[in-house]
Symmetry: C2
């Protein structure tokens, strides 16, 4: 099935290109990547190097090379392999390619390529059949496993090993390199410049078919270690397996020993055995997160593809690392968490694999000190979470990175100090996690401290208008990033009030049920009960932007409706340079109502029960046409709200748009001079939400799991898995029924509702509830 | 005495140029202007027209031609005169000039020119002796009076009358023109486009010497009316007097009749009689405002020159017009009042001619509704005075006028909505006026309402920080205009608290002494006593930026010291284009500590007793080197504070710098694409302050007029006039004495102090107090 020009799928579990496109190195390197939450390896070819954007991005290796961008390191490439056929270096850029196929199997995370290569003709025709594949092991996260087959009528030379010439976005992160050869493996040790983290790559290989090498030699360079193998002419295909392992001193005490041992162990096990172990883990993951969409193979494929990227971007193995906004696809966005993590990536895990959701939130607890420091540095109290959050949680968002392309002068952005909604977003998610899981232990150990500190921050940020008897939030940057320096952003104020409510509820819960823990916590963070009184006052008096009784509109922020009313297409005509940033301080969108992304709609998405349908509709109708969707976070939000409003076609279109942000390469890779390419993990993570929380409209209301499905008309049956408080549910939705099956191993029954029908779903039972297609929500 | 290249004075009462400089048309047109507070007539030559920036700017003729800039009109030039000598049009741009002199006598406001003109040689040499002069009558403000003498061996033709081709800065303000000829005068009637104000210019002339014309003809064009006179060869000089009068329908019901009648009456009186009446008024003005500086003729001349411009810029004849920031020298700054009016122009009048100070303040009362409207439009209460205040007091500062010269895109400035200190500046001045004059009637009729409404505005603008128990002012633009969008600007917060204090003091005063008027006022503006409680709360809790006990520094605004510390000269290197605006949003000064102008020092200037000398010194030393003095308001403030600190040389240098802003043409005429040339009336007005309130350090403290003179060393005797509560004092200061003489006509005695010596100065008495030169303040 063709998805678009040069993009196909056969089973719905892979994407494939049938023509090599040299223009798409950056994009396809991300789209076809493999990874496992510890590392990401770009979808590049074995013989490629720095100039083709080869990069293996390793988590927990933050380093600032240029003093501006703290980012993850790309480590030396231990899966380098350059074949030379009849004296001609194999290259997809030269000669001609026949029977070219490159695919990414996202069922099991395998990148593979086959081709017949004919060297550029000089004298006798030189050609070779090549097939290679690789995966990033989910069984051992430090391991990448690859296989290379090549057959030719000419002599073959192979150089493979560790190539130190890899892509690094912002400078050289390693202050030293040391290449070594052991008997059975190659090792390159590096040390990061800023913190002196030792990062070690090891490489091993074994020949599993074809002739023995006529010669074998090891070559060490400053930052590379290669093994050169030369083969005589042979009728048999040459078959190689090779292994790359990575450890850092943040992982183990002796990363050099660990890396070498992992490479050796991999060599002992061999590709096939490693692959089987790896697949077993993927099977478990997909059992939870795969969604089946009968009647729409495209949507199904796209959803799986996005889910794949959400999974491999997530450091599910640990509770001390963030989900990067570009995952591990490259170094853009600094391998760091934004609000994307909680709002876009996390919900899928919350309902399918809550342990992972918990770990992500524990990461936020581990970074509380960083958030406290940020608050303190900016003159606030409590926890002001980093807009860009790396290992420590200290703010690593530079104050300057966009460049005014018209003058070449840097622009001070205020993502780091004005976009305060990050803190209430986290409080919201803590509470959502608790509401879904009832994980009291989490609240006692982590959640309470976080929400108290967030409430404190909000208290210290808020201004009280005595003449209006209300608290206001001033000088904000809401979700719509084109409008900085605004007051009372509807989304931010609502989220802030909710966060205060969460803190109050948590306080009361602990006061009633765990007074000792509360006392302990209060002592630890130096709280007093006056503070709680202030939360109560704030909860009553935070200014919530009203719904205009005439128009039904909620103003995005104070004065928004006084801005110039123009549509994005017309506004675009004002660009002098297509690379201009549209936003603050002097971009073309600033004096207008054109928003970068969903803002009021974002509020609806997170608080679906706060406003009635007429209000949502009025605001959708007003704001959507004025939204440029200049952020990959935007179409998904409108997809969800459109689904709720019964705007079926719009919802579907926005779903497809959101799910193809990367695959169809619709977002620009550079904005205001800064590289922002790579996988948009938020868009990947939210795909599941659009289907389950948008189209199926699943929400937890007062301990009841409610569904109000409004599926696209051509979707026959949609099946997905949901886990709720120990109940493991398979959900199947047809145009007029919803079937709930609770696995026998479920630990609890759960109250469910489909529209007005209610049912208690006990372990091991199946219930089908029928409904007429709803006329509207 | 030479003041600089091509600038001389003979008596200290005039300036003179001895070489015609075609490069300085714009600047000299302003510097050599004549005017009388009703109109301003640029220092141009009789035969000039639009391309030489001829303009007679008339007060109270506000019109917006281009929809952006509301400005005063320049009316048709009724003093146009083109001589043609032997068939060659006299022009200073062609031929050659001998014995050229052009001067401005500021004793009596007379512009004059003499020259011998030799036409460009073609056949026989044509030459003429020319002498012309003009003044703007102070006896009849609607009248300009001119005289022209020309002598030549060749036949002379004269075209004179009303030329409609005059300079207009921002578009065509008149929707219609109508030119008429009466028997004895010419008339051009115009109507403004926006409000339909009829503006009429009349012209009359008479021959007073030389031959009778051989022919005489009237020529009417669309917007011009000329009289063509042809003379035969004659040995006698030709002597003409001619008169221009201007009336608008804002002045009288029938401006056409009034203008014609004024021209005719002038013709009947003749130049000499009109001049005598005019001089009598000037004599009165100078009796009050002239300062004598023995030992420094330069300083004396400069001070008089600046005082002249302060006088002619001021509409002393009425209480319904503002002092324009460029006076009536041109249309720049929209003929409108800024805070300059109260802080820079007014104090000289307050102490020399308090009636004028009163009128200026009554103007602010007349514009209260405009200030209320502005507050309402921006979501506030009370009176938020216009940053740029024309006739109605509604805000006429456009939101966009600076252009980013690098992109050509307009910049949204926030002078109009963020520079809130204008309102407390006015409250401060109301109180200062009352303190100096004890004019209770003014307070009852005007002042109280103004300061109450200003306090209301401040209440509605302030935010209360509950966690810090203080009121804050957020998103400000302080005096330093390079830094917009700042919080708790030290100057603004202090001024706001003072304004609240003024409102409270006024309230208490009325409550005790005039409860009926208070009740009336309270009813009229709908106040209640809760509001006064809130003033009391605010007065206690407005955040006043503290003095750092270590450094003695007051932070200009929150976070100022975190900005990049760089000096203006170094910063300037970052300019890409010399015409760039340095300020908001993305100018080079924004992320730095470089200030456009005095800001913390401005606070000292207005509140000299609020901080001790050590604090003033620490802040002067810190801030002055970081000040670019990019505003003409800046050097004067540093001059005053430097004088107080005993920084004699610096004080003197800043005095000279401030007093020569126009004369030495040190400020740029265009910034960010906007013409900002013309006379800097604030710098003119403040010159008197620098001497009397800076060097002589005269201040009124608890009903006592205190002097602490620290004059420049080479000043032998400084004499000036001060009026205080009916006492008319002549003050003479030598290096070690101060003599106070109270005129016999004084109506009260006044308590004075010179350093620690105190004296009661009764009418008709003279007291000399001696002192040692102070070592420091």
């Amino acid at each position: 099935m063709q998805l678009r020009e040069n993009l196909y799928t056969r089973t719905g579990w892979e994407i494939e290109e049938q023509r090599f496109d040299a223009e798409q190195l950056v994009t396809n390197g991300s789209n076809y990547m493999v990874g496992n939450g510890y590392l990401g390896y770009r979808g590049t070819f074995p013989e490629w190097t720095r100039s083709e954007y080869v990069g293996c991005t390793v988590s927990d290796t933050y380093d600032s090379a240029d003093g501006t961008w703290k980012e993850l390191c790309t480590v030396p490439n231990g899966l380098y392999l350059q074949a030379t056929i009849g004296g001609r270096r194999l290259s997809v850029f030269e000669g001609s390619l026949e029977a070219y196929r490159r695919s990414l199997d996202f069922r099991y995370g395998v990148h593979s390529r086959t081709l017949r290569w004919i060297a550029p003709e000089e004298s006798d025709a030189v050609c070779a059949e090549v097939s290679d594949r690789r995966f990033a092991s989910y069984d051992n996260l430090h391991l990448l496993v690859a296989r290379y087959e090549v057959q030719s009528a000419h002599p073959i030379q192979i150089r493979l090993g560790i190539d130190g010439e890899v892509w690094s976005l912002n400078g050289e992160h390693f202050s030293s390199y040391s290449a070594r050869a052991h008997q059975d493996c190659l090792v390159v040790e590096t040390v990061t410049g800023e913190y002196g983290v030792s990062v070690v790559v090891a490489h091993a290989c074994r020949l599993v078919g074809g002739p023995r090498p006529a010669s074998e030699e090891v070559r060490l360079e400053e930052r590379s270690a290669y093994r050169d193998l030369a083969f005589e002419r042979s009728d048999q295909p040459l078959e190689l397996e090779y292994y790359m392992s990575v450890y850092s001193s943040n992982d183990v005490a002796d990363p050099a020993a660990a890396a070498a041992e992992a490479a050796r162990a991999a060599m002992r096990s061999g590709y096939q055995e490693l692959y089987q172990r790896h697949c077993a883990v993927w099977d478990q993951k997909w059992a939870r997160s795969a969604v089946q969409i009968e009647g729409d193979a495209t949507a199904e494929t796209l959803l799986r593809y996005n889910t794949y990227h959400n999974l491999i971007a997530t450091p599910a193995h640990t509770d001390h690392l963030p989900i990067g906004a570009r995952g591990l696809s490259c170094q853009a966005y600094q391998g760091a968490a934004f609000w994307d993590q909680e709002i876009f990536n996390l919900p899928m895990f919350l309902f399918t694999d809550p342990t992972v959701a918990r770990r992500i939130l524990v990461y936020r607890h581990r970074t509380l000190d960083g958030a406290r420091k940020k608050a303190r540095d900016l003159g606030y109290r409590g926890a002001f979470y980093a807009w860009v959050s790396g290992d420590s949680g200290e703010e690593i968002c530079p104050s300057y990175f966009f460049v005014d392309v018209l003058s070449g002068r840097k622009i001070r952005n205020h993502f780091n100090d004005w976009q305060i909604h990050i803190s209430p977003d986290i409080a919201f998610t803590v509470w959502r996690y608790y509401a879904v899981t009832e994980d009291l232990q989490f609240m006692l150990e982590y959640g309470a401290e976080m929400v108290f500190e967030i409430a404190r921050f909000l208290v210290s940020h808020a201004y009280f208008k005595r003449d209006k008897n209300r608290f206001e939030f001033i000088r904000l940057l809401g979700p719509d990033e084109y409008h900085e320096n605004v007051d009372n952003n509807a989304f931010t104020n609502y989220m802030a009030r909710h966060a205060i409510w969460v803190a109050l509820r948590t306080w009361e819960m602990l006061e009633e049920q765990h007074p000792q823990r509360l006392e302990e916590l209060v002592r630890a963070i130096g709280m007093n009960s006056d503070e709680v009184d202030e939360w109560r006052a704030m909860h009553k008096l935070i200014y919530i932007k009203p719904v205009d009784p005439q128009t039904g509109l909620i103003e995005q922020f104070d004065g928004f409706f006084q801005l110039e009313d123009i549509l994005p297409g017309d506004l675009q005509q004002r660009l002098i340079d297509p690379g201009e940033y549209w936003g603050w301080p002097n971009g073309i969108a600033v004096p207008t109502q054109v928003a970068k992304q969903a803002d009021v709609a974002q509020l609806f998405m997170l608080h679906p029960d706060a406003y009635d349908t007429a209000t949502m509709r009025a605001n959708y109708d007003y704001y959507e046409p004025r939204t440029q969707h200049g952020s990959s976070l935007s179409p998904s939000v409108y997809a969800v709200v459109a689904a709720w409003l019964g705007y079926s076609q719009k919802a579907y279109d926005f779903f497809i748009r959101s799910a193809t942000v990367d695959l169809f390469n619709t977002n620009k890779a550079v904005s205001g001079g800064t590289f922002i390419g790579g996988i948009h993990t938020a868009a990947c993570g939210v795909a599941w939400q659009i289907v389950v929380m948008g189209f199926a409209d699943m929400r937890l209301v007062n301990d009841e799991l409610r569904f109000s499905p409004r599926m696209p008309q051509h979707w026959q049956t949609v099946r997905f898995y949901v886990e709720l408080r120990g109940a493991k549910l398979s959900v199947a939705i047809t145009p007029n029924s919803l079937t709930l099956n609770s696995e026998a191993s479920s630990q609890a029954s759960v109250a469910c509702a489909v529209f007005e029908s209610r049912v208690q779903v006990a372990p091991g039972t199946t219930h089908t509830l029928r409904f007429d297609e709803p006329a509207g929500r």
